[in-house]
């Protein structure tokens, strides 16, 4: 009897496609969070594969803080055109009017208003009850225990005790009115898997992932890119031109760049594999208080 091993990446792909189809088959009102980053790009690609030759039967949702990199907006436009999917863009209008920004309000408050609250508003407005997110279990300790189908009580609250056991690949997609499910098709992917897959499938990603000479300023040991004139500069501070790239992308004032000469996917992969610091290091919101990701999750942030 010949044994047959499907390789690890094909296994992940097959599992993610199964998850996406299962969530859609639940017959609810699904939406896919699209944050424009590399994980979102992989998730979108998997969704398109899952339903080929049809388009994925759900819209994309971008919670726009208005502080994303300009390159990200350009990439968003391109991918929406290419996929033929509907894109919903939502910004917290109250936050916008109150001029909530990462500088004067601090990253914690800003994230709560412009991301967590904005997301809640958008989900309520669309009455979405299946929400695809690109989070991975390997990203952060508290995510290691996250379900693939993560149950949310009314008001989008995540309650650790209310989570359903997930046996085999059997997902209980039944919910009551007001409840919803966050679905994480990339749960079992690692950062290296993501890059390998982008390489294998030739998935388009935002150019910011590749090294280029960019204008940056040093903030507390982290390189912040001066993507537009809104970034307040201290007296005497002027942007330096450095060869940098990003390992994760979010709001530009909160995304730290790393110095790197990696201009190709191969070089990024080599660098990532040899990396001595995790990708979340570049995310400023993780470390602002102990157990901070867990608190945010309970409040409804991904």
């Amino acid at each position: 009897m010949t044994s047959y091993h499907i390789n690890a990446l094909s296994m992940l792909e097959a599992e993610s496609i199964e998850i996406i189809r299962e969530a859609v088959a639940a017959g609810r009102n699904p939406v896919m969070m699209y944050s424009i980053g590399k994980d979102s790009s992989v998730m979108l690609h998997l969704a398109r594969k899952a339903f080929f030759p049809a388009s994925p039967p759900f819209p994309l949702l971008h919670v726009d803080t208005t502080w994303k990199f300009r390159d990200m907006y350009a990439h968003r436009t391109r991918m929406v055109a290419e996929s033929g999917m509907e894109l919903i863009v939502h910004t917290n209008q109250d936050g916008l009017e109150a001029r909530v920004n990462p500088f004067t309000h601090g990253s914690s408050f800003y994230t709560d208003v412009m991301k967590t609250q904005a997301l809640t508003q958008a989900l309520d407005a669309g009455e979405f009850d299946i929400v695809f997110g690109g989070a991975r279990r390997d990203e952060e300790k508290s995510r290691a225990k996250e379900r693939i189908f993560s149950f949310r009580a009314p008001g989008h609250r995540w309650e650790p005790k209310a989570q359903r056991p997930e046996l085999w690949n059997l997902y209980n997609t039944r919910i009551k009115v007001g409840e919803s499910i966050r679905v994480f098709p990339l749960s079992n992917w690692t950062e290296l898997d993501i890059w390998q897959y982008i390489h294998q499938e030739n998935i388009p990603i935002v150019p910011l992932y590749f090294a280029m000479v960019r204008p940056v300023v040093n903030r507390g040991g982290t390189w912040i890119m001066v993507d537009d004139e809104r970034l307040p500069l201290a007296k005497g501070e002027s942007p330096e031109m450095r060869l940098v790239r990003f390992r994760t992308l979010g709001c530009y004032p909160l995304s730290g760049a790393i110095e790197s000469p990696a201009t190709t996917l191969e070089e990024i992969i080599a660098e990532t594999f040899n990396a001595r610091s995790s990708e979340r290091q570049g995310r400023l919101i993780d470390t602002d208080q102990p157990g901070s990701m867990e608190k945010k999750k309970q409040e409804g942030y991904f």
Partner: protein, 626 residues
């Protein structure tokens, strides 16, 4: 490994691409050192980054139990509330890799009340690492954990005998525990058990052989996980694909999406749709941007079928010749996972692969003591209890026993009111077999009969002059087909002329009738699913055409056994040509009766020049029978 140059990176990507996945579960009682071991494995396989290590050092001082030393257990303790209580209370998944594999670890707690977490973690695991404290040996908990993983279908065990540093690395301690465990676990039927003595805390036998336990000559933990063979999925098994989603963008395309649970599929394969039993053929295996020739177990695919048949979510597309059973009553193992007890007679929702039906427990046969395996009588089932029950469903479902297929044999129960997942079950066997229902629903036709014989029915019609070699080749071909496991029958002058066609002579009219009868008989046999070899001179085109018209496109294979008249006459094995020449035989083909050469035979054999074995080889090729 430093990958710097392009070739290094290409090589690196190639090794990454070839990696396979191993999923395993760790179990042990509180404080056996499970978290420490996992933290170690992550650390040693270089899956921890510098910033995480720094955070760990900080955490170690604040929450750790190791004083100034790094407490690896903190790497894997997750939620804040749990961290403060100092315990882990759920299933967490961790990722690391060896040079050949990507490993996914389900980390589950050792508490009495968390059987359900362990079952959850074990449901997708191929292997279990069971921790034992060397000072304590095999405990009640060890037995319980082993029973749970065995019940969930885990077939390979690593018995990690930890804290060897606290027993002076004593070989006798290790051997005693190993022996005790093997005796106890015989009844659980694991396919492999491997014991490793280690100190998770101090790193002995994790990556390299421990110098302090030179008496142990087996592999360290990481090496073992890198190489253990965990009965890999087989692609030789029959196709099983539960239909998850029907993809129907417009009326021109109807694809059936699902993940292949077993076996493999190729374009053109005959398949059956269960539970209806309808037969169809795979047209295309559709993937992003095109189609592929084949797909196998583990892959998520979209199939289109050549025939317009009814298929919906919850159906299972299976190999036509090896369908699984269909039933609505089962005996199964059930693990109860809810605070609300299970009540016999109460309707629950049951989800088995992609099918949801209503289920009631008609009888709790007995409850199983998870520590001892003893059978206990029970009226209800409480949280974390395991029982063997009879289950009755609102409709038939396609299934296989859990021991054979986790996908077709594992199910969950959902409470109809709370909608929570309340039970996990494993089908053992069907109580009232509906196995044959789908056979009645479908027409027994030629394809069904042929499929039962693992072949495509054919009429292979040999025509040619007497002595051209028809019978020799037909006989040889039949032997070869038989050896290949095919079901055949050979019709020739000998077995037809003496019985069925005894009343016929050699006039032109009789020759026509002879062929007509032979063709009709061949048709009946093809309908029975056989490969029929017909060896008759059949000199007239019109009769051969008549015969051909009785069969479906592609079913009739005309073989022109071509040898020149002089050659046949020279061979004259039966002395017939001589007789005819002498005028003792009337209407002999080639002498005083015409042979009309076939215009477009499927196969043209020149027996005058090629030997018969070569001819038969060529035919086996052409008939695509391997």
């Amino acid at each position: 490994m430093m990958a710097s140059s392009t070739t290094d990176i290409t090589a690196f990507l190639a090794t990454q691409r070839d990696k396979t996945t191993l999923r395993f579960i760790t179990c042990g009682s509180v404080d056996d050192g499970k978290s420490t071991l996992i933290g170690r494995l992550l650390h040693e396989s270089k899956c921890i980054f510098d910033d995480q290590l720094q955070a760990l050092e900080k955490d170690s001082k604040q929450y750790g139990t190791q004083g100034e030393k790094i407490d690896f257990a903190l790497l894997v303790d997750g939620l804040q509330a749990e961290r403060e209580q100092g315990i882990t209370i759920d299933v967490a998944y961790r990722f690391f890799s060896t040079d050949k594999r990507k490993l996914i670890v389900a980390d589950t707690p050792g508490h009495e009340q968390y059987t359900r977490n362990m079952a959850t973690g074990a449901s997708t695991a191929e292997l279990a690492v069971i921790l034992v404290d060397a000072r304590k040996g095999v405990l009640t908990q060890t037995r319980r954990h082993s029973r749970i993983v065995a019940m969930m279908g885990v077939r390979h065990v690593v018995l990690a005998i930890n804290k060897m540093d606290l027993v002076e690395f004593d070989q006798a301690v290790f051997e005693r525990i190993d022996a005790e465990y093997r005796v106890f676990s015989t009844e659980l039927g694991f396919a492999s058990i491997h014991s490793i003595p280690l100190s998770a805390l101090e790193g002995d036998n994790i990556v390299t052989h421990s110098a302090r336990m030179s008496w142990y000559d087996g592999p360290p933990v990481i090496e073992y996980l890198n190489s253990v063979d965990t009965a890999p999925m087989s692609e030789r098994r029959a196709l099983r694909m539960p239909v998850q989603w029907v993809n129907r963008p417009d009326q021109h395309f109807r694809g059936f999406c699902g993940r292949i649970a077993d076996g493999r599929v190729r374009a053109g394969d005959p398949v059956r749709v269960l539970p209806s039993g309808v037969l169809a053929h795979v047209k295309d295996i559709v993937v992003w941007g095109g189609a592929v020739e084949r797909a196998a177990v583990g892959e998520s695919v979209t199939l289109t079928l050549a025939e317009e048949v009814d298929v919906s979510r919850g159906d299972v597309i299976v190999a036509a010749d090896a369908p699984p059973e269909v039933a609505d009553q089962f005996e199964c193992r059930l693990l109860w996972m809810s605070e609300q007890p299970l009540l016999p007679g109460r309707p629950y929702l049951l989800k088995l692969h992609n099918k949801e039906v209503t289920a009631t427990i008609s009888e709790i046969k007995y409850c199983e003591d998870i520590n001892s395996g003893a059978h206990l009588a029970a009226k209800i089932l409480a949280l974390n209890e395991i029982a063997v029950v009879n289950l009755s469903l609102s409709q038939n479902v396609v299934f296989e026993p859990y021991a054979q297929s986790r996908t077709l044999g594992g199910f969950i129960l959902i409470d109809k009111l709370s909608l929570e997942t309340v039970g996990a079950g494993m089908i053992e066997f069907a109580l009232r077999r509906a196995a044959n229902i789908h056979w009645q629903a479908l027409e027994i036709n030629q394809q069904v009969r042929a499929a039962a014989k693992h072949q495509a029915a054919r009429c292979v019609w040999f025509t040619g002059l007497s002595g051209a070699g028809k019978s020799t080749i037909a006989n040889l071909l039949e032997k070869r087909l038989h050896a290949a496991g095919k079901h055949t029958y050979l019709l020739d002058g000998d077995n037809v002329r003496h019985g069925l066609n005894r009343d016929l002579g050699f006039t032109e009219a009789d020759r026509v009738e002879n062929i007509r009868r032979v063709a009709e008989v061949a048709k009946l046999m093809v309908d029975a699913g056989l490969i029929v070899l017909v060896s008759f001179i059949s000199p007239y085109r019109s009769e051969r055409r008549l015969a051909r018209q009785l069969f479906a496109e592609g079913e009739f294979v005309e073989v022109f056994v071509d040898a020149a008249l002089e050659v046949c006459e020279r061979r004259d094995t039966k002395g017939l040509y001589a007789k005819a020449r002498r005028g003792e035989l009337k209407n002999f083909t080639g002498i005083d009766s015409a042979y009309e050469v076939p215009e477009a035979p499927e196969i043209h054999l020149l027996t005058g020049t090629a030997d018969s074995v070569a001819c038969v080889n060529a035919m086996m090729e052409q008939l695509a029978i391997r």
